[in-house]
């Protein structure tokens, strides 16, 4: 009997080996789609996924051919009645689907009825479309400063009814307890594992929009039914499989791009050796869409943050309503003031709606503890609102911000004519991530730039003229007059500059900003800085004007700089300007007289 079984086994194995030609195995094992399905890196040497459950061959993480053979073999194995969902056809449906286009698979059945869990999976039943969502940067967490991205699987095509759509989000699996230095260290060095997880969209909406006040842009993709199916099957394969997390170049943005690469002939990732920011996925999709005559992006939907919604709600209030709101805040009233009790009920309703929303926003922003007095006050306000009729869509809608991919791309390379204290030279400029205050973007005078480098090519030598490790500016303006949120504006600048001697510095400032018009902001700051050259400790009170004239953005700053405990102030003047000539090209001008006169005029290419 044993001999018979052995004989049958050998026969089956030899049949399997004969079933697929060696040349086909060799070819398919090197196919980009197969490598994408296994999440192999661009060199094809190994998979980014180190979870053993993701491979059918013990060496599958490093050998795509062995994994292919093991997969093909596993698909032909009989189902075990007790563990039917563990069969390869149920665990790896995307591989199964794609391999069916490359080989003749015996008894191929795209969705085997034995795969109970897969058949019940909600996403396979009602998916209408697939989107990628960009969440704007959040300075409350270092890992979120450059933005976040996730995939949204839409069960509804109605944007007003999408809270139960599904999101697939990639993130580090953090331990229950950790501190910030540990978090940064492990994030940078691959000390954390990471995985995709699926959640209902309302979880993301509440976290990003309602609690962190971050705008989002949803890019809905155009996908054929076949591609959509492949995508969903692959999502099933990926869920919960562990990867190694690297904050700089194996982050959410990279993984979203890697996932989407499965759908397109060309990879979405050009390079990610050192750095990959989430926004890059969207620029690449846009680029492919433009080259492919609009075959990639169906539409872009702006999802305003709760903050933007509250600002819009305030703008919609009439003068009388604003007056009532103001009085209620000033006098700490939880009901409509007596003198206004006779005004129209719907007007009273607007006032209370705004106050309730504003108080929630305000508490969320300030993170203050809600004590029993606040609770009692809120309850009275709520009750008074409930006594009035329901609203009828009169809250106002925020101004739609244009898609992020209409802004300057996040990287630039530039050339300029530079003169520094009468020393003329050509200069090269480069930054791997630059959302500049005078750049063409939605940042309204804010900026976040890292590793901004200027190399000066003088007649006698080539030198590192400027290097900014990081440059951040946040200009906060009050959109609501009584906004209690900390409205302090601030900036931080760490870098080095070539003056008479090389100066290494850390410069930080605090101040206030006001919106003068829709296009202009005025600010005043006090900067303190620490330098490596002679004047080590300095302060610099300054005022500035930021102007946004669509394609032209300008920042003017004036003040004086003085060394601490000394009386030798020097007046300073700084001018920065950019004019967008083309979606990739801007003309820029930089002038300042700090330490020595510096002027740079040139072109920046954003990509």
């Amino acid at each position: 009997m044993k001999t018979l079984i052995l004989y049958l086994l050998l026969l089956t194995t030899s049949l399997c080996a004969d079933f697929w030609k060696e040349s086909d195995i060799e070819r398919v094992a090197k196919e980009p789609t197969w490598l994408n399905l296994l999440h192999y890196d661009s060199s094809g040497s190994q998979s980014a996924i180190h979870d053993k459950r993701f491979f059918l061959d013990s060496k599958g993480q490093r050998d795509a051919k062995r994994e292919l053979l093991a997969t093909l073999k596993a698909y032909g194995e009989p189902f075990n009645d007790k563990e039917r969902d563990e069969h390869a056809q149920c665990r790896f449906p995307a591989r199964y689907l794609w391999l069916s286009t490359q080989f003749t698979l015996p008894n191929y059945n795209e969705l085997n009825p034995a795969c109970d869990k897969l058949l019940k999976w909600k996403l396979l039943k009602g998916t209408q479309s697939i989107s990628v969502v960009f969440v704007s940067g959040y300075l409350g967490n270092p890992a979120s400063a450059f933005g976040h991205s996730f995939i949204k699987v839409n069960q509804s095509n109605n944007e007003e009814d999408n809270l139960f759509d599904t999101t697939l989000s990639y993130g580090a699996l953090l331990p229950p307890k950790y501190n910030m230095p540990e978090y940064i260290f492990n994030g940078l060095t691959g000390g954390y594992e990471a995985a995709y997880s699926d959640k209902y969209y309302y979880n993301q909406d509440i976290t990003y929009s309602n609690q962190e006040f971050r705008d989002m842009w949803e890019y809905r993709l155009k996908l054929s039914d076949a591609k959509r199916k492949l995508f969903l099957f692959h999502a099933w394969e990926l869920m919960g499989k562990k990867n190694q997390y690297f904050f700089l170049n194996r982050n959410c943005g990279y993984k979203v791009s890697e996932f989407l690469s499965l759908l397109y002939e060309k990879p979405l990732i050009d390079s990610a050796y050192v750095w990959y920011s989430p926004i890059e996925t969207f620029y690449k999709l846009k680029e492919m869409d433009e080259k492919g005559a609009g075959e990639i992006i169906d539409k872009v939907i702006y999802i305003p943050s709760k903050q933007q919604i509250i600002y819009a709600q305030y703008r919609m209030l009439t003068t009388l309503e604003k007056k009532m709101v103001s009085e209620m805040i000033e006098k700490k009233l939880n009901q409509i003031p007596i003198e206004y009790q006779d005004v129209n009920k719907s007007l009273q309703a607007h006032v209370l709606d705004f106050l309730l929303a504003y108080r929630k926003y305000s508490f969320e922003k300030s993170k203050i503890k809600i004590d029993k007095d606040i609770k009692a006050f809120n309850r009275s306000l709520l009750l008074n609102r409930l006594k009035l009729p329901a609203s009828r869509g009169q809250k106002g809608k925020p101004k739609i911000k244009e898609p992020i991919t209409e802004n300057n791309a996040p990287r630039y390379f530039g050339m300029s004519f530079l003169t520094q204290e009468s020393d003329d030279a050509l200069a090269l400029h480069f930054a791997p991530f630059a959302i500049e205050k005078v750049g063409y973007n939605n940042f309204s005078g804010d900026e976040l730039v890292v590793l901004d480098t200027t190399v000066k090519m003088g007649r006698e030598k080539v030198s590192l003229n400027k290097f900014d490790l990081i440059r951040i500016q946040r200009l906060k303006t009050k959109q609501i007059p009584y906004d209690e949120e900390s409205s302090l504006s601030w900036n931080l600048h760490i870098g080095t500059q070539e003056n008479e001697n090389r100066d290494y510095f850390i410069d930080g400032g605090l101040g206030y900003a006001w919106e003068l018009t829709n296009h202009m902001k005025f600010y005043t700051m006090m900067n303190l800085s620490l330098h490596s050259d002679e004047k080590k400790y300095r302060y610099m009170p300054n005022i500035g004007l930021y102007g946004d004239f669509h394609h032209l953005r300008v920042d003017l700053k004036a003040g004086y700089e003085n060394e601490l405990m000394k009386e030798n102030p020097e007046s300073i003047f700084v001018l920065n300007g950019q004019y967008r000539m083309h979606k990739h090209l801007s003309l820029f001008l930089q002038y300042d007289n700090i330490e020595m006169e510096y002027l740079s005029l040139g072109l920046k290419w954003f990509y």
């Binding site: 995985a195 997880s197 699926d198 959640k199 209902y200 309302y202 609203s391």
Partner: protein, 148 residues
């Protein structure tokens, strides 16, 4: 009193017959205990993040093993309870106002008109105890308004 009794009976039944029990037979208390809703409400605790991944994902095992079977915590009522727990603060304002994406979704899920939810919610807020209720209790009361 009747509700309390029913709840106790259901809870006792749950402990014995969990695998057979359908979502529709459970009170909020049952769902709360079985599905880790408490951890979800207090979602600033580290445990909650992991628990919410386990419990409220959509049938896949996102991070850890799926300790709650589909029969236990994926039913319609558990879905409503989780939704209310996560979005209570938004729901409170939208019910008061009578409009909004969250309250519209809740109305659709429970097949109850926004005006009816609003009316019953007004009674709840009018009770003197409202401002002293814990978040969990508020969630439970709203759940009972839409589920019963």
């Amino acid at each position: 009193m009747k509700k309390v009794k029913l709840s106790i009976v259901a809870l006792a039944m749950t402990t014995i017959f969990v695998p057979q029990l359908q979502a529709g037979d459970r009170s909020f208390g049952d769902i709360y205990k079985e599905c880790g809703l408490g951890a979800m409400i207090f979602n600033d605790t580290p445990i909650a993040a992991a628990v919410s991944n386990i419990i409220w994902d959509l049938g896949t095992t996102a991070v850890s093993s799926n300790i709650s079977s589909e029969e236990n915590c994926k039913g319609g009522e558990a879905k409503v309870a989780a939704f209310i727990s996560k979005s209570y603060d938004d729901l409170e304002l939208e019910i008061a106002s009578g409009e909004g994406k969250y309250v519209d979704t809740l109305a659709t899920m429970t097949d109850k008109k926004v005006s009816v939810i609003r009316e019953e919610f007004a009674e709840l807020v009018a009770s003197n105890e409202y401002s002293t209720l814990s978040k969990t209790k508020k969630v439970e009361k709203l759940y009972n308004i839409v589920a019963l």
